[in-house]
Amino acid sequence: MTTLTVPGRVRVPRKYVPVLVTAGLFLAMFAAGGIRYEGFATGQIILNVFIDNAFLLVVAVGMTFVILTGGIDLSVGSVVALSTMVAATLLKHGWSPWPVMLIVLLIGAVLGLGMGAIIHYFEIQPFIVTLAGMFLARGLCFTIDTESIPIDNSTFTAFAQTRIDLGGDMWISPSVVIAVVVVIAAAYVLHYTRFGRNVYATGGSEQSALLMGLPVARTKIGVYTISGFCSALGGLLLSFYMLSGYGLHAVGMELDAIAAVVIGGTLLTGGSGFLLGTVLGVLVLGLIQTIISFEGTLSSWWTRIFIGLLLFVFILLQRLFSARSRR
């Protein structure tokens, strides 16, 4: 069958190519927007993309871990919604904000842990397990309340309204700071810890990882726990942003997160990709929305069509550059 021999080492930075392509495309889009629209090419536009998508960024970080092991997590959107719901409900009942946040994060992590354990120990496909998790979390939301619950806690509103000035008329929200911290922490974990490297190894070849004595079980369950935690954190950021808890928040967000990860050059087969790519993927998605809002006359459906087309282009490029050949 196919020989595994790869001729020499010709294209060293090949693993960076998908990320570079995404970066190039992002810059091109930004430049095109700057030429076409008045007041587009400002730093604040990019910062706004961050502000509006901080929660997606955090969720996509968790998704990156899962996809790097070759899995998938469909439950993230629902866990985000559940988190907003739990937070809003507890606050409504007069809980103080910090324990609320702690509980929300704990719930997310435990949900992830449970799904990871089922996936690993009962050998059920991640797709199905996290799909059930998606129904579960969404169902819990509606069980709590079918209506939107407003949040008026002062700490939460402070998070929502605080502007952190960066000078030169540019500002960001606290959520952006949190998201950036998460990205940096996750990048550190992926690159500088054994757990992070085990994630890559498991995604590269689970069997080899087992034979090399790596803790595959801990790694696989760990990534789903991280994804659950990130979704919960994303949910908190979304509740800062929306100042409400609602069971219909973040519907379909799992697809945005998956799309961001894939556009960022991470292979769904696992083992290859970078967190920076995911950040760029989220930025690309956000910038498309910005362009469409600048266009004004363009309707929201063009966003979806564009995202679909972009996915197509990226996957084609990935196939061209990818070293892996399909069996």
Binding site: M1, E123, Q125, Q207, L210
Partner: protein, 352 residues
């Protein structure tokens, strides 16, 4: 005891049937006359009929999905195809001078189904021609297709008033809801294509061992493209049914998340996501379980908001019961399989 029940317990539809029967009996406890079917105005009425009637689109989509999954693929785009097909048909009908013209409705239906076929072929080409993983290849159309549907409706809900079109999803024919007739027809067609003709054998062969199939001379590309095209056609019909039932097309919400229900129905029905052997009967059973679940929640008076919770519960139970690893670990504690290597090989296939 175990020896006697063995063949039943091992049958792959055993657990789904148990669940469905359990759900139906649960209904009987809460609803009088649950199994009662009566004739009103020459139309069949009853809870059981309703389950079939409301479950019709899901059964259709699940049938197409079964074949796709049997080739070890997956199709996430069916929900979007549902929306596109309904939107296109309604758009054309709304442009008709006389919305009740049978010819106009037929041509609208034809064009909508034709577009569904094209979309399905596109998916098939991406998977079999370009070699993109099915989940991603169809994610493209899932995302873009939803936009396409909204583009067709211009973001509005197109409302129509066409009695021929209404027949598809909401009408009756020979006392039976027309939707059920369509389902039976498509089921019969699918069974004919796969079990009477040889498509089923080739599909199972491609899904079971792709390389061996190639060496046996099977044109697996053609098989895969056919299957995705068929799946989109089923979704297209389901789209017509859904939009006809409410006499309107909503590009945004029609068929939303139906792909997930369909995949669940297939898995619950005993067709593994890894491909190979498929069971049309199991899929119908799976789709009925999901629909019955929804009906049950209404009928036993549980607030509808817990539908999803119940669904999650039932899905988890069925999937766990069907997982050999779960049964081995829970029912036969500490009985490791004698040969370690098969397990390792299993793992390879999973990660591949």
């Amino acid at each position: 005891m175990t020896a006697f029940l063995g063949p039943f317990l091992r049958h792959r539809l055993f657990w789904p049937v148990v669940i469905l029967v359990g759900l139906l009996l649960l209904n009987l406890v809460f609803t009088d006359n649950f199994f009662h079917v009566e004739m009103k105005d020459d139309h069949l009425y009853g809870s059981l009929i309703d389950i079939f009637r409301f479950g019709a689109p899901l059964i259709l989509v699940s049938l197409g999905m079964t074949l796709v999954i049997a080739t070890s693929g997956i199709d996430l785009s069916v929900g979007s195809v549902v929306a596109i097909s309904g939107a296109l048909a309604c758009l054309q009908i709304s442009d008709l001078g006389n919305q009740n013209s049978v010819g106009g409705v037929l041509s609208a239906v034809g064009v909508a189904l034709l577009l569904s076929l094209v979309l399905g072929a596109w998916n098939g080409l991406l998977v079999a021609g370009v070699g993109i993983q099915p989940i991603i290849a169809t994610l493209i159309l899932m995302v873009a297709g939803r936009g396409l549907a909204q583009l067709i409706t211009q973001g509005q809900i197109i409302t129509i008033n066409s009695s021929p079109y209404k027949l598809i999803g909401g009408g009756y024919w020979l006392t039976v809801p027309f939707g059920i007739i369509i389902v039976i027809a498509v089921l019969a067609l699918t069974a004919f294509l796969t079990r009477r003709l040889a498509l089923g054998l080739l599909i199972e062969s491609v899904g079971g061992n792709a390389e061996a199939s190639r060496l046996a001379g099977i044109g697996s590309r053609a098989v895969i493209i056919t299957v995705y095209t068929f799946c989109a056609l089923c979704a297209g019909i389901a789209g017509l049914m859904i939009s006809s039932n409410v006499s309107s097309a909503d590009g945004n919400n029609a068929g939303l998340w139906i792909e997930l229900d369909a995949i669940l129905a297939v898995v619950i029905g005993g067709t593994p996501l890894s491909g190979g052997r498929f069971s049309l009967g199991g899929t119908v059973l799976g789709a009925l379980i999901i629909q019955t679940l929804t009906t049950t929640i209404y009928s036993i008076g549980v607030p509808p908001q817990t539908t999803l919770l119940f669904k999650a519960l039932v899905v988890t139970i069925v999937c766990l019961l069907q997982s050999p690893a779960f049964r081995a670990k829970v029912f036969h504690r500490r009985r490791r399989p004698a040969g370690a290597p098969p397990v390792a090989e299993e793992k390879v296939r999973v990660s591949a």
